[in-house]
């Protein structure tokens, strides 16, 4: 049962030990960070037995009961997020072991990498408002620093803009927590839920509004998305893989799921707000992604539109809506991280990510082209690959709850996504341009991409009955779990 705290402690320990001992040595710090992240993945797998045995684990830090101490809780939904996050992190760490040689002092990169992962895992397992805020702050500050890791002029300015907007988001969340503390006096979510009954609805609406705007700002939904293209496209590739693959999903989407489906249940109309925001950001992201000149900016805009997909699926609700949201989160994390690692491999050889300077990669870099095209086809929803299944389920959910217009828009947006990804694929991979060609990247850069593409290729297997049980449990959590049930027992 103590395994629940291991994801956070092991990453913190790895950050402090790398800072103490291996900071100057490039190779050793990379290997240490990789071994710690693999250890965390193993401990998360071992945790699974408990989670699915007795429905959820509740862990009192320091043996203090509900309202006094901090309680940690992992149920089916947060367990799926934990598994996906802690599978992609070692893969990215393996990729950055050889990619970060281009930067000076990569030891600091591994420290910040383990701090971001500690923050993400800390958010996923905690059940206490202020605890979520503190771990949100750790991962946000570590991501502000990592965006500016290359110390070039654009990266510094993108990091400045990202810090300002991230600070506003965190302050909104902190004011919401302050209001909760003021009115109910407790910080524990289940204690807050049991104290919720004697608060008037206007107070709750105000707190819900603050939380939704704060977390929507962190997940770059439509009105607050303008920081994302600069931050994600200028950061080093493994960092933008973490940011748009995992960071905006855990700090933004996971918290929105918790707040809308598990905490503020008495406001079902908040789902409509999220659906509207998701719809607009879906359309806006794909339209903006069409005429980009840089590979990573296209990927950044496409991740805005895919986050819109997840928010839309969350807003539609019902069994299929929630299932589509979780599946789209899983597949989009895999394929978007794959795409950013792919652009990193291209940049590793060609020193540029401008589309017109990259011609005819397929003849000299066959594996990079193969994995890159698998990622692109999967996000645009081609049948055998991953995101096709989640998009189909989201469209079914829209049709089942009679939103025919939304289902139609989903189809159009996935067609637009297919459009700009095919354009990208044709220009970079298949075109027969001249110019000097570089040979394939070495093994260390290639294997992470191959692993992710294999996972996407066999994406359909997740819908087999025996694997689907875990997904149904997570959907069940989203449908009828409320934190108040923990307080009763």
């Amino acid at each position: 049962m103590n395994l629940i705290v291991f994801p956070v402690i092991l990453y913190l320990l790895s950050a402090f030990l790398i800072a103490l001992i291996w900071k100057e040595d490039e190779k050793l710090s990379g290997i240490a960070c990789l071994s710690f992240s693999i250890l965390v993945f193993i401990s998360v797998i071992l945790l699974g037995k408990y989670v699915f045995l007795n429905e959820r684990i509740i862990y009192f830090v320091g043996n203090w009961q509900i309202p006094i101490g901090i309680t940690l809780m992992v149920d089916a939904l947060s367990y799926i997020f934990l598994v996906v996050v802690n599978f992609v992190l070692p893969v990215i760490c393996w990729f950055s072991n050889s990619y970060m040689r281009k930067y000076t002092k990569p030891g600091y990169f591994y420290i910040l990498f383990s701090l971001i992962s500690a923050g993400l895992n800390g958010i996923l397992i905690s059940m206490d408002f202020f605890n979520i805020y503190v771990f949100l702050e750790i991962s946000s500050i570590a991501s502000y620093i990592l965006v500016a890791f290359g110390l070039r002029t654009e990266e510094l300015e993108a990091s400045l803009k990202y810090t300002m907007i991230g600070f506003i988001g965190s302050t909104l969340i902190l004011i919401g927590i302050g209001l909760i503390l003021g009115k109910t006096g407790t910080l524990n979510i289940s204690d807050f839920m049991s104290a919720i009954l004697n608060i008037n609805k206007i107070q709750l609406l105000f707190i819900l509004g603050l939380f939704i705007s704060g977390f929507a700002l962190k997940t770059a939904l439509f009105p607050f998305h303008f920081w994302l293209p600069d931050a994600h496209s200028l950061a080093p590739s493994p960092v933008s893989a973490i940011l748009s693959g995992l960071f905006i999903k855990v700090t933004g989407f996971y918290m929105l799921v918790r707040i809308i489906t598990n905490i503020f249940i008495i406001f079902p109309e908040s789902k409509i707000i999220i659906m509207a925001l998701g719809l607009i950001s879906m359309i806006f992201g794909s339209l903006m992604a069409i005429d980009q000149i840089d590979i990573k900016r296209t990927y950044a805009y496409s991740s805005i539109s895919q986050i819109g997909y997840c928010a839309l699926a969350l807003g539609i609700g019902g069994y299929y809506g929630y299932l589509g949201a979780i599946l789209h989160f899983i597949y989009h994390s895999f394929s978007k991280s794959l795409l950013f690692l792919n652009s990193g491999a291209i940049e590793y050889r060609y020193k540029t990510t401008k589309i017109e300077e990259l011609k005819g990669l397929s003849d000299k870099m066959p594996y990079t082209t193969a994995t890159g095209s698998i990622g692109m086809l999967s996000i645009s929803g081609i049948p055998p690959f991953g995101c096709f299944w989640s998009k189909i389920i989201i469209i079914i959910a829209a049709i089942k709850s009679f939103y025919y217009g939304i289902a139609f828009i989903c189809v159009i947006v996935s067609v637009i996504t297919l459009g700009y990804f095919l354009k990208l694929k044709r220009n970079i991979f298949d075109s027969k341009g001249e110019g000097e060609k570089f040979e394939e990247v070495n093994f260390n850069l290639l294997m992470p991409m191959v692993i992710l593409s294999i996972l996407i290729f066999f994406g359909g297997l997740i819908l087999l009955p025996e694997v689907k049980i875990y997904l149904d449990k997570a959907v069940g959590v989203m449908q009828n779990f409320s934190y108040i049930q923990i307080g009763e027992r």
């Binding site: 950050a15 006094i68 101490g69 701090l115 503190v134 290359g150 006096g185």
Partner: protein, 177 residues
């Protein structure tokens, strides 16, 4: 402790004036100094509100923040031009008016009444700190034992910031530059 409301209002109005000077003054040094006065006033107000160790921390942290910002300013341009971008000003006035209206109309719903705080968990913390933990200072007991998991996150935040300063102030970002 001082109970009449006059003292609270006097300190708060001083703070608001100080922060106005800090934002609107032309020379950066004078705005930094007025920032220092705002921090000092807040530290005194914390004492009145019955939070002595927060007052100590606020006082010294505010001095260090002042020194950090002075390090950023010395040897660089010291005056800031006063023109502010028009678009943001209108956006700000719009947000300001909307939120003040909602604030005044719903304020007794949203904010708890000033004098009495909701001691739902606070009372148990006071009782447990003195009885179970035998520690006289309830705030330190909360920070380090009841909610010690937060303080680990807290220590990591300082650790991240210092690593950030080390990362940002190294000589060269990329090797091939």
């Amino acid at each position: 402790m001082v109970t009449n409301i006059f003292f609270h209002v006097f300190l708060l109005s001083m703070m608001v004036i100080g922060s106005m000077v800090a934002v609107f003054s032309r020379k950066l040094i004078s705005s930094l100094v007025s920032l220092g006065t705002v921090g000092m006033l807040i530290s005194i107000y914390f004492l009145i509100l019955g939070a002595p160790d927060i007052a100590i921390t606020q006082l010294v942290v505010e001095v260090l923040a002042l020194i950090i910002l002075l390090c950023a300013i010395t040897g660089r341009d010291v005056t800031a031009d006063m023109t502010s971008s028009k678009v943001y000003v209108f956006l700000f006035i719009f947000i300001f008016v909307i939120s003040i209206l909602t604030f005044i109309s719903y304020s007794n719903f949203i904010f708890p009444e000033f004098g009495n705080t909701n001691m739902r968990v606070g009372k148990e913390y006071l009782y447990l700190a003195t009885e179970k933990l035998k520690s006289a200072n309830a705030v330190t007991a909360i920070v380090l034992d009841f909610r010690g998991y937060d303080t680990i996150g807290e220590a990591t935040v300082i650790f991240t910031a210092i690593i950030g300063v080390m990362v940002l102030l190294r000589k060269k970002g990329k090797k091939d530059e």
